[in-house]
């Protein structure tokens, strides 16, 4: 059976769920960042899938490029913050860094 839009949507859904699960359960800041990367990718999959199955316009792909670009910026900043925290708290355990609580 030919590969339809649904298939890609399901793949992206699964990737999204794994990303989400990572972010929810990871205690390691970097693990969380990785989860974020996964979520962004699932979004890209959807973009491209819709771009392909939705009439072939380039918008979808342009967006996904933007997403990738932003993901890069976000990762850079995220990791810089993590390093900052690490230097401050000597740990990047998400549990420990809750000084901003209410």
């Amino acid at each position: 059976m030919s590969i339809g839009l649904h298939h890609f949507l399901f793949v992206s859904l699964l990737v999204f769920l794994c990303g989400l699960f990572t972010v929810l359960t990871r205690r390691n800041a970097i693990g969380v960042l990785m989860g974020v990367e996964l979520i962004l990718n699932s979004a890209n999959i959807n973009y491209i899938a819709f771009s392909r199955y939705g009439g072939g316009g380039y918008d979808g792909q342009v967006f996904s490029v933007f997403v990738i670009m932003l993901a890069a910026a976000e990762a850079a900043i995220g990791l810089a913050i993590v390093l900052g925290i690490y230097r401050q708290f000597e740990t990047i355990d998400v549990e420990a860094t809750d000084t901003l609580r209410g």
Binding site: I30, L38, A72, I77, L83
Partner: protein, 164 residues
């Protein structure tokens, strides 16, 4: 054969994602992230988005993943890479994720997606480049500004603290 290839790549992506989620060791999860990213790039090829696939490989894998690895290594004294990322209370998260999955799955199935007949796969680089400089000129320029800010931000954040 075409379908089998698709399933293989999709499986690769999903397993990579699972790896990132479940692995006990950060480095392992980094490796599985690599798999996931490559799988995704493969999917793009399937979706005739060649430019994006290549960009994915270059930027994501080459850039972000390496950067993550660097971070991991910097924040872990090699000696004590032991239990580092035991995660907290997986069960509720799992339950929640499954629920969410069902909800979105139902949405995917029910939604009357507007599907056009597939056109032939054509090289998209020219189209993307062209739209970058006409239709999406402003976001394109803004993107450069964002990247510059991110660059400066990263440098500022991670420089040695000046001991006042």
């Amino acid at each position: 054969m075409y379908a089998a290839l698709f399933y293989f790549i999709a499986g690769l992506t999903v397993i990579g994602a699972l790896g990132v989620a479940l692995s006990t060791n950060v480095v392992y999860s980094a490796m599985s992230l690599l798999a996931a990213l490559v799988g995704a790039s493969g999917l793009y090829v399937f979706l005739a988005a060649d430019f994006v696939a290549v960009v994915q490989i270059l930027v994501y894998v080459g850039g972000i993943l390496i950067l993550t690895l660097f971070a991991i290594l910097l924040t872990h004294q090699i000696a004590e890479i032991q239990v580092s990322n035991r995660s907290v209370g997986r069960l509720p998260a799992l339950g929640l994720v499954v629920l969410l999955g069902l909800a979105m799955g139902a949405a995917i199935l029910r939604a009357p997606w507007h599907v056009e007949p597939l056109a032939a796969a054509t090289p998209t680089t020219y189209g993307i480049g062209d739209s970058f400089l006409n239709q999406y000129l402003l976001p394109f320029e803004l993107a450069s500004v964002v990247l510059l800010t991110a660059l400066v931000g990263a440098i500022v954040l991670s420089r040695k603290e000046l001991r006042e």
